[in-house]
């Protein structure tokens, strides 16, 4: 079965499985464990114009079926990335998505501009979950106007396919998605982590150095599916779904909810080869569910689709 996915501006993936930003480094870290050429793509760790130090440790904490992280978007900046990491990535036989971050609209613009001068980058993913330091720290992803401003600034600098990664930490994620679509986004990726925290009971304090952190992993899958389902109906552009995927069936859930492709994050820490396994299993699982191809699966649980028809008619279960 052909698993290829065609996305806007000529972005073609071998298959819909992409490594999620921040969980796959810049590629070489996992290279001895994961065959990158099997993946549809990888989204690298968020890149800012200048290096960001990130938060004090501890930076991760386990929760029931979830992971809290307060990495704080530590990265060595777009310049070092272009010089040090891009040469390796150019040789990787997969699509490279650069995840970009900033504290002001101009910082986003600068990163986009810098990356657009380089070869080897196939798409940009704009992470709007960063606090807007000019506007008092509310994240760009919580306000449609600010999100649109970021997208417009990035659009002005690049012809690369651009996806905007939306935050679940806002009342109406679909409204943000619509705003960035109108501002020129080619795709939406959803969702980023959910704000959460844990208490280190023995030490009587918040468990993470950053106090609050981002919740990821299977615990957030229902939250992610709901947002993908809503966004897929609110916008015309493709949605890349993520949040808690740990199995091939999880991927199918996201595809049915309207995702054209998916990203896989936290589970990689426990099972680095899970993405490869999913790529291998996907054709069979899709066939067994009665679909002819990947594109038939996408959106099949959206309103107005084949809802009522169960895959197998089982009179007796």
């Amino acid at each position: 079965m052909n698993l290829a996915v065609s996305l806007p501006r000529g972005l073609k993936l071998k298959n819909p499985i992409i490594a999620a930003s921040g969980t796959f480094g810049f590629g070489p870290e996992y290279a001895s464990l994961v065959d990158m050429s099997v993946l549809g793509g990888i989204s690298v760790k968020g890149l800012s114009p200048d290096p960001w130090p990130g938060n004090p440790p501890p930076r991760v904490w386990e929760t029931p079926m979830g992971l809290l992280n307060s990495i704080g978007l530590q990265n060595h900046g777009v310049e070092v990335f272009c010089q040090q990491d891009l040469p390796f990535l150019r040789n990787a036989d997969t699509r490279i998505i650069a995840n970009i971050i900033g504290h002001t609209v101009d910082e986003y613009r600068r990163v986009a501009a810098r990356l657009s001068r380089e070869s080897g980058i196939d798409a940009l993913e704009v992470n709007i979950s960063c606090p807007n330091i000019k506007e008092g720290g509310m994240s760009f992803g919580q306000d449609p106007d600010q999100a649109a401003q970021v997208m417009s600034a990035v659009r002005a600098e690049t012809d690369l396919p651009v996806m905007v990664k939306i935050s679940p930490n806002t009342t109406y994620p679909a409204m943000i998605a619509k705003a960035v679509e109108d501002a020129g986004a080619d795709m939406i990726s959803a969702i980023n982590t959910v704000v959460g925290m844990a208490i280190d009971v023995r030490h009587r304090r918040p468990a993470l150095g950053g106090i609050t952190g981002g919740l990821s992993g299977p615990a957030i899958k229902p939250i992610a599916l709901r947002i993908v389902y809503e966004v897929a109906q609110a916008v015309e552009i493709p949605v890349v779904g993520m949040g808690g995927i740990s199995s091939t069936m999880d991927v199918v859930e996201f595809l049915m909810a309207g995702a054209a492709a998916v990203m896989v994050g936290t589970i990689t820490f426990q099972y680095p080869r899970r993405m490869q396994e999913i790529v291998a299993e996907l054709p069979e699982v899709i066939s067994e569910l009665g679909f002819d191809g990947l594109s038939d699966v996408v959106g099949s649980a959206l309103p107005g689709r084949s809802h009522a028809a169960p895959v197998m008619v089982e009179d007796y279960e």
Binding site: G25, E29, Y30, K45, P58, V60, N69, Q74
Partner: protein, 244 residues
């Protein structure tokens, strides 16, 4: 059982058996994250490696319940281990609690400098928690023991014996592993001398350098910067680190 609630577990795996002492195994248990555990013994001839751990939570409890013959899912060997000592100068191992096991792996592989006896300083909260003392003695080390409550050896911390050893061995090399407070004290006690190697712990995500979870504060090219325990360490030279 090396001490109450401690388990040593052998795995057959030729690649793991080739680890450098100080490197670690990243072990899948249950829950979202693997558990990092250092190698306590390495037998490259038979292809066996051992990890020795204290049962402290869900992951180590699960691991301790594994039966002989179980198949474990381990990534490794990961990280940067201890550099072997310069065999022309004396060396000393300093271990606290579950920091002791990786030092045994080192002690078993390293040769003493000519005309010296390797020194090992072991600390624990109380006698029953003291790990592997006999094993170091069997390797011919001179062993000092300290306990916080004085229930075995000297009452106090490893810093007492270490300071005395350093005074006698101005060119001595130090290899330490244990809780951060102990490592910080070792760093302070060893003053400006070189060849002080410290194996750190930090909460980890990936274990391979990709997620930037496991950082500690270190000296970067342009001032203080975070270093990854899993990929840049867990073993660092004293100069690479900044203790608060």
């Amino acid at each position: 059982m090396p001490a109450p609630d401690h388990v040593e577990l052998w795995v057959h795996s030729p690649p793991l058996a080739k680890a450098t002492p100080g490197q670690f195994a990243h072990v899948a248990t249950q829950g979202m994250l693997r558990r990092p555990i250092s190698f306590s013994r390495l037998d490259v001839d038979t292809g066996h490696a051992a990890i020795l751990f204290q049962v402290v939570g869900v992951g180590t409890r699960w691991l301790a319940s594994q039966q002989e013959g179980a198949v474990l899912d381990i990534l490794g060997p990961l990280g940067r281990g201890f550099p072997a000592p310069d065999d022309r100068r004396p060396w000393c191992l300093v271990g606290g609690g579950v920091g002791i096991p990786p030092l045994l792996a080192a002690a078993s592989q390293w040769t003493p400098a000519a005309q010296t006896t390797p020194a090992t300083i072991l600390g624990a909260r109380t006698a029953s928690l003291l790990l592997l003392e006999e094993n170091f003695r069997q390797l011919g080390h001179e062993v000092w023991v300290t306990t916080d409550d004085g229930s075995r050896g000297e009452k106090g911390t490893v810093i007492g014996p270490l300071a005395r050893w350093l005074a006698k061995n101005p060119l001595g090399q130090v290899y330490a592993c244990g809780p951060t407070a102990m490592l910080s004290a070792v760093a302070a006690t060893s003053g400006q001398r070189g060849d002080v190697w410290l194996a750190l712990e930090q909460r980890m995500g990936c274990g391979v350098g990709a997620c930037l979870a496991c950082v500690v504060l270190g000296n970067g090219a342009n001032g203080p910067s975070y270093r990854r325990v899993c990929a840049d360490g867990p073993v660092f030279s004293r100069e690479e680190l900044i203790f608060p």
